[in-house]
Symmetry: C2
Subunit: 188 residues, 2 copies
DNA sequence: TGTTTGATGTCAGTCGCTGTCATCAGCGTA
DNA sequence: TACGCTGATGACAGCGACTGACATCAAACA
């Protein structure tokens, strides 16, 4: 017989997403999240650094997927296209968790502090992509610019995917956005 | 005879920048900032929404300059080049306040919470630029992509300008970064 | 001269977050 | 079997960020 119910982290994440969605992020206390998960406030902070981080538990695996896909991309591909393929792989992952991703994004969009946290996670993705590009031989500032541009493409595509009523294909939206960026940066 | 010393906001900003630089952001309390400015903690929060915001008082005027410059750009210029000229104008402004900008940036770079705040300010700039582009007739998602790409260029250029020991010209760095982005997104 | 205004002070209170110590089922080991 | 160790959790005190409510009082105004 286990001493505690298993998967404390999962229960905390579920409780937090539900409460943030019902009452809003600011109107929810950490004590309430912990109580719904059958735990105490102190235990919440043993699992998550702060009240926001509980919504971003999956960021690490997304970053791993991005970096690994980019690292495995063909050397023949131009850096921007290698980044594009990595972004599409991330798009596939997010689309598989479609309902969860949309609910989570609605909560984040409703609160400025959560948007801040999301932005720094995106910046972390860009930094990781830039490092991988450098390991592939891309020099600075090309590596950082390619990575930042890629993340910008991803952000715009994800934004429209979340909002759209008709569930368009996220990887396709990413490809479209990338083509749009190329068109927009092409000289007149 | 004035009832209070004038320029409470300016004194708070100076005190905050100095203390954040000396002890670090986390090790500084709002009460200490207020005391150095000859005020109370409560008054600090009447001028700034939170402990971070005191470092971003100039963000509004920077955004105004960006938007106005973009709005006044020649209709003949491609959107990305109109954005580039606005970014260069912002670069001139920052370069004029060179020492202050560098000291401020060192403080921000040293703390994650401050980097989060800076990222959302940059995102706000991108949103404002995208709106101005739309008013100039650019459609979505081209407007958002152009704005986001422009901010990415600005971020990379500003980063290297801050770090560089030799004080290269910031507007020139922005032009170089923009050209690098165009090269990087050009098809193979 | 009386009134209003606006920036500030004072104080109490909530909540995010941390340090510290106690608890106790399960595990390995003698 | 008995014993000690481990690791996840609970309990509690405390700090600092931030807020609401009320008081103050010089300056501007009627």
């Amino acid at each position: 017989m286990a001493r505690w119910e298993p998967d404390a982290r999962g229960r905390l994440e579920q409780a937090a997403l539900a409460l943030y969605g019902e009452r809003g992020f600011e109107q929810t206390t950490v004590a309430e999240i912990a109580a719904r998960a059958g735990l105490t406030e102190r235990t919440f902070f043993r699992h998550y650094a702060d009240k926001r981080e509980v919504l971003f538990a999956g960021a690490g695996s997304l970053q791993d997927l991005l970096v690994n896909t980019l690292a495995d991309a063909s050397d023949a591909a131009a850096p921007i296209d290698a980044v594009a393929s990595a972004l599409e792989a991330a798009g596939v992952l997010l689309q598989e968790r479609g309902d969860f991703a949309r609910q989570r994004q609605a909560v984040i969009a409703a609160n400025t502090e959560l948007r801040e946290r999301e932005l720094i996670k995106m910046a972390s993705l860009a930094t990781a992509l830039a490092g991988t590009l450098r390991r592939r031989g891309v020099k600075e500032p090309a590596a950082s610019l390619t990575a930042e541009a890629g993340i910008a493409v991803f952000r715009v595509a994800f934004e429209s995917w979340v909002v759209e009523p008709t569930q368009r294909d996220l990887p396709q939206l990413i490809r479209d956005s990338m083509n749009e960026l190329k068109a927009v940066t092409a000289g007149t």
